[in-house]
């Protein structure tokens, strides 16, 4: 179905005539335990709306209106720390994990995955997500380890062979990592099982699937960087969340911070599209 935005001038007219969204925001996260090789190399904080969020257990997503499509056009992001990169992204809650017992410990969302949206003009197409595990209760005594069974980015069913091991026996709450997938896999459509092979005496986590909207690199502390999704890397992503195949799923608009947890402040702008 043809969209309504077919030129730069129409895009600007939409903003001028109220068919868009501008929102100043502030997100918050918390420092986690630094990642290691066995926990996916990268440390993340999934920073949610500052007001109302009790990190990491109660996350309030950044607000967006609800037209059918809202094209991301522009954003400014500022961090209290320098050199922090950030993805504005939707985080879909795939499930929760108990890290205090071995065996299958994933409680899957009641929604049926994959998440779908229009891809290359084809409606209801399964989309790949990046699997992020966010520790909600600190681990204790032993660093838990698990393998993941999942449906990969191509719809293939995979029994994972790579063991994800938390970086510390006491991995603190708020720590976030990307879960290892098999060689050649770049994302997941769904997760069917988390098999805990080494349990701690404490620990719980939530698994989110991430869909990226825009990236910005805040080079200097407290100096805003901008992302222009029209001209400086065209990527007019639809910020309205994708849809599960069935049921409903918790979906949060968040800022994914890498190697830090200060959160961001700034403004994001979107344009309504039909």
């Amino acid at each position: 179905m043809a969209g309504s935005i077919t030129s730069r001038s129409i895009l600007m007219n939409q903003l001028a005539t109220g068919n868009g969204f501008l929102f100043p925001f502030s997100s918050t996260g918390a420092s986690g335990t630094a990642a290691a090789t066995a926990s996916g190399y990268f440390s993340f904080a999934l920073c949610a709306n500052k007001n109302g969020t009790t990190y990491p257990t109660t996350l309030v997503g950044l607000p967006i209106p609800a037209p059918a499509k809202l094209r991301m056009v522009f954003g400014t992001f500022s961090s209290a720390s320098s050199g922090r990169a950030c993805y504005l992204c939707n985080a879909y809650q795939i499930g929760t994990v108990n890290l205090t017992a071995t065996g299958s410990q994933l409680t899957h969302t009641t929604a049926t995955l994959p998440m779908t949206r229009t891809v290359f003009g084809q409606g209801s197409t399964a989309i790949p997500l990046l699997p992020l595990i966010l520790v909600t209760t600190a681990t204790a005594t032993t660093a838990p380890a698990f393998t993941m069974n999942y449906t990969n980015q191509d719809g293939g069913v995979v029994t994972g062979t790579k063991t994800f091991t938390f970086p510390g026996a006491a991995t603190i709450a708020g720590s976030g990592y990307i879960i290892k997938t098999e060689d050649g896999d770049s994302g997941v459509q769904d997760i069917s099982a988390i098999s805990v092979v080494t349990a701690g005496t404490a620990g719980a986590a939530t698994i989110y699937g991430l869909e990226f909207y825009e990236i910005v690199n805040t080079a200097f502390s407290s100096i805003a960087s901008t992302c222009d999704s029209v001209f400086s890397g065209i990527g007019l992503m639809n910020m309205i969340p994708s849809s599960p195949t069935g049921g409903t799923i918790t979906s949060l608009l968040t800022t994914l911070e890498i190697t830090g947890a200060n959160g961001y402040s700034g403004v994001y702008v979107g344009v309504s599209d039909t």
Binding site: S4, I5, T6, Y87, Q153, N217, L236
Partner: protein
């Protein structure tokens, strides 16, 4: 008709004729550093785009990419072509594809690429894998060119070497054969030969994604048919295990 304007790109986004794909890879092993292997690493694939092309789409154009890795590099991103493979223990070559033909500046040309020699099945310990001689057709269409490459013992999975081409050759169009010499009780293992059609060369900052704009920054809106993986090769600062993640956006050409 094809995309002939920037507004045309905007329209494709508006009507949903695009996709965003995560790039995530875990090179969970230390790659070998010997005989040219190790200077370059293969660090990730994108989900293979729909094949055949979706209805209404005549090709794929990458418009934006962001990448980071757990160690800093420069990254080569491109559409990957499997030029063939060599089974070390059986000393046998399996032919792959040739670099494709496309219209460039109004003329039909066979593309060419540097040769990425990647260990696709790690070598078992023991034995001497030998030295391979690769016979290829050069970027100029000259057949029968050769290069040699020592295969180190115990070559680790995902170790990559750039083939040292003959004379002033700049690329390979195809591989016609691979022979081996100097083997002693050769181990099991496979090396696969890849060519790459450019998307970009971009810097990678450790743990901080950088953005490359493939229209107004590095103008390269090449429309590719279906059937090609997007792959990332990196100049490696070390051979240790490392991770990569990011995102690439691909627009469907009309």
């Amino acid at each position: 008709m094809g995309i002939t304007s920037y507004d045309g790109l905007i329209s494709q986004f508006s009507n949903g004729t695009f996709a965003s794909y995560p790039l995530w890879d875990d090179q969970g092993v230390t790659v070998s550093s010997a005989n040219g292997f190790g200077a370059i690493g293969r660090l990730g694939y994108c989900k293979q785009l729909p094949n055949p092309l979706p209805s209404g789409v005549t090709g794929y154009i990458a418009t934006k990419i962001s990448l980071t890795a757990s160690s800093a590099y420069a990254a080569l991103v491109g559409w990957q072509v499997n030029l063939g493979s060599f089974n070390v223990s059986t000393a046998s070559f399996t032919a792959g594809s040739s670099m494709p033909t496309r219209t460039e500046l109004g003329t039909s040309n066979v593309l060419s690429s540097p040769l990425f020699i990647e260990c696709s099945t790690g070598f078992a310990a023991g034995g001497t894998p030998g030295t391979i001689t690769v016979t290829y057709t050069s970027q100029a269409g000259t057949a029968g060119q050769t290069l040699t490459q020592i295969l180190p013992a115990s070559l680790a999975l995902r170790s990559v070497a750039l083939g040292v081409l003959s004379g002033t050759d700049t690329g390979v169009q195809s591989i016609s054969g691979v022979t081996v010499s100097g083997q002693v009780s050769p181990p099991t293992g496979i090396v696969t030969f890849y060519g790459m059609i450019p998307i970009t060369i971009m810097p990678i900052s450790a743990s901080s994604p950088l953005l490359d704009n493939l229209i107004t920054q590095h103008f390269n809106p090449m429309s590719m048919p279906a059937g090609f993986n997007i792959a990332v090769y990196c100049w490696a600062s070390n051979q240790l295990a490392k991770g990569l993640f990011g995102e690439i956006i691909v627009v469907g050409n009309s």
